[in-house]
């Protein structure tokens, strides 16, 4: 269960399975997290999210990681991985168009906002648990997140 590919939103109409398969392969090849195309009035979005449950960490430990894979072993099992405490929609900046709270390489203080998760019309600030350097932000702006989904990796120090 460490990695899943699934459309987050179901679109109207029938799916072209081959097209989706092709897109999914492309996704793996390029290491992208999301591809969205529009063709003949149909929109197809293929996205992959990295889901980590408390149980799957151990099971996942021995799995080989593809080079360039998003949320690869290094990030997933990094002790500095910040997991989502709730279900909601992640926002990387305080308002649309504003610069993001943090990016890879940003030095953060303990308690500094890493991103916001909107849940039940409430904006919840997700703080850095300690001072350090952001190695990666694992979610996109506006991306739905599950409980325990990895959000970012922050190296202590």
């Amino acid at each position: 269960m460490a990695e899943e590919r699934k459309p987050v939103t179901k679109k109207e109409g029938t799916f072209d399975k081959d097209l989706i398969r092709e897109l999914a392969e492309l996704l793996s090849e390029t290491g992208l997290t999301e591809i969205e195309i529009e063709h003949e009035g149909k929109r197809v979005r293929v996205a992959r999210t990295v889901t980590v449950g408390a149980n799957s960490l151990a099971v996942d430990a021995g799995r080989p990681v593809q080079p360039g894979e998003r949320g690869g072993k290094e990030e997933l099992h990094h002790p500095g991985t910040l997991h989502s405490p709730m279900v909601g929609t992640a926002y990387r900046s305080p308002e649309p168009g504003a610069p993001p709270f943090v990016e890879a390489g940003t030095r953060v203080a303990a308690g500094q906002t890493i991103l916001i998760i909107e849940a039940m019309k409430t904006m919840n600030h997700i703080p850095a648990p300690y001072a350090g350097t952001v190695l990666a932000v694992l979610v996109d702006d506006g991306q739905p997140v599950e409980f325990a989904e990895p959000l970012a990796v922050i190296e202590k120090g």
Binding site: M1, K10, G53, A54, V87, G88, A119, E146, F147, A148
Partner: protein, 444 residues
């Protein structure tokens, strides 16, 4: 009709609801705790959202997480299943505030029937039969004797503040009433600090018979016959059948119509179950469950009506199109609850299922999320599946059940299957001669 339903439950009932949604062409969203990431209800849903840590209060009972899961997936309705949030009026209200439909009755009815005293008052005003009693505290022996003579012996002296069997004394004849009153008072005083007692008709060997209802909230309501759920252990139903071996067609039609009329008057919406104790040809109201029940399957087998589909249609605002005369009872059905438990001690038996082979063939239905290699988590209830068998007569049904139980393989954990195999061989079970105490006596 809804576009997407989020199922706020797990296990076999989540699967059951997914099946109905798929037949209606509605997309499904499963929610799950981190312990259930590999569960079948997650695998078979169109989408899934992890909503929290394994303890139910952090996931399946976590209202904000479930509402957020609706928001990120765009679900326009929630089916609560049974247990968890199915009878939580606050949950239904919060969903309403977020313009998400709660697939169930009105919040007012959920709340009303969730309160024991209000439920009884409502049942009484709707003309449902209650256990006859003193309707208030007993002040002296003369009054107690008068009331007891009126309702008929045996009578039960009960503490008003009571519970758990304390402060309860049975008087079989008038001579026992004096001592019964005194001891119940003392026990009530020491246990609850309140010696108020009241009198109720004592039922020595009742059956548990419940009536399935379906209403549209606009004043249309029908009944779908009864289920006999007398085989219980510690108030936990294990074996349910429809129709009851104890009722004839006239009795069935009479209690069914009494209940359907009450539901029309209440303007009840959705599926519901009115539970009774039944003794000496009389019914006594216990409570009403404002949700789908575990044992709804036996009613489906004998009526051919998919209760979950009906429930979803009505929640979407459709009127009740079924008429009472459309409901025909065809044959007999029995459900056995397959629990991950020791069949004698009922000690829970979580763990990994190494082999799983469900029975099949004509008239056999297995509702289960279990599979070979599945590990039953220790956090939730022990029900791992339901075996439902349908046949033309009760005798055929018993033979088919025996055959199906013989095919059923669940290795790696203990289950209740051996208990059911033993029950099939009991003459009382074959004859339908059992009451709510039968199973406990058998196991003692």
């Amino acid at each position: 009709m809804f576009d997407k339903i989020l199922i706020a439950n797990r296990g076999e009932i989540a699967l059951r609801i997914e099946r109905a949604c798929k037949e209606l062409g509605i997309a499904t969203v499963a929610v799950h705790s981190t312990a259930d990431a590999d569960a079948m209800h997650v695998r078979l849903a169109d989408e899934s959202v992890c909503i929290g840590a394994p303890p139910a209060k952090d996931s399946y009972l976590n209202i904000p997480q479930i509402v957020s899961a609706c928001e990120i997936t765009g679900a326009d309705a929630v089916h609560p299943g049974y247990g968890f949030l199915a009878e939580n009026a606050r949950f239904a209200e919060i969903l309403e505030e977020h313009e998400i439909t709660f697939i169930g009755p009105s919040t007012e009815h959920v709340r009303l029937m969730g309160n024991k005293i209000e439920a009884k008052d409502t049942a009484k005003s709707l003309g449902l039969p209650l256990v006859p009693g003193s309707d208030g505290p007993i002040t002296d022996l003369a009054q107690a004797k008068r009331i007891a003579a009126n309702i008929g012996y045996p009578v039960l002296v009960k503490a008003a503040a009571g519970g758990g069997g304390r402060g309860m004394k049975v008087a079989h004849v008038e001579e026992e009433l004096d001592v019964g009153l005194a001891t119940a008072r003392i026990e009530a005083k020491t246990s609850f600090g309140d010696d108020t007692v009241y009198l109720e008709k004592y039922l020595g060997h009742p059956r548990h018979i419940e009536i399935q209802v379906l209403g549209d909230g606009a004043g249309n309501a029908i009944h779908l016959g009864e289920r006999d759920c007398s085989l219980q252990r510690r108030h936990q139903k294990l074996w349910e059948e429809a129709l009851s071996p104890a009722l004839n067609d006239n009795e069935r039609a009479r209690i069914g119509e009494t209940v359907a009329k009450a539901m029309r008057e209440l303007r009840y919406r959705g599926v519901g179950t009115v539970e009774f104790l039944h003794e000496g040809g009389k019914f006594f109201f216990i409570e009403m469950n404002t949700r789908l029940q575990v044992e709804h399957t036996v009613t489906e087998m004998i009526t051919g009506i998919d209760l979950v589909i009906e429930q979803i249609r009505i929640a979407a605002g459709a009127p009740l199109t079924l008429k009472q005369q459309d409901i025909r009872f065809n044959g007999h059905a029995i459900e056995c609850r397959i629990n991950a438990e020791d069949p004698r001690t009922f000690r829970p038996s979580p763990g990994k299922i190494t082999h799983f082979h469900p029975p099949g063939g004509l008239g056999v239905r297995v509702d289960s999320g279990a599979y070979a290699g599945y590990t039953i988590p220790p956090y939730y209830d022990s029900l791992i599946g339901k075996l439902i068998v349908h046949a033309r007569t009760r005798n055929e049904c018993l033979m088919r059940l025996k055959r199906a139980l013989g095919e059923f393989v669940v290795d790696g954990i203990d289950t209740t299957i051996p208990l059911f195999k033993a029950l099939i061989a009991e003459p009382d079970i074959a004859d339908g001669q059992y009451d709510i105490h039968w199973l406990e006596n058998y196991l003692a």
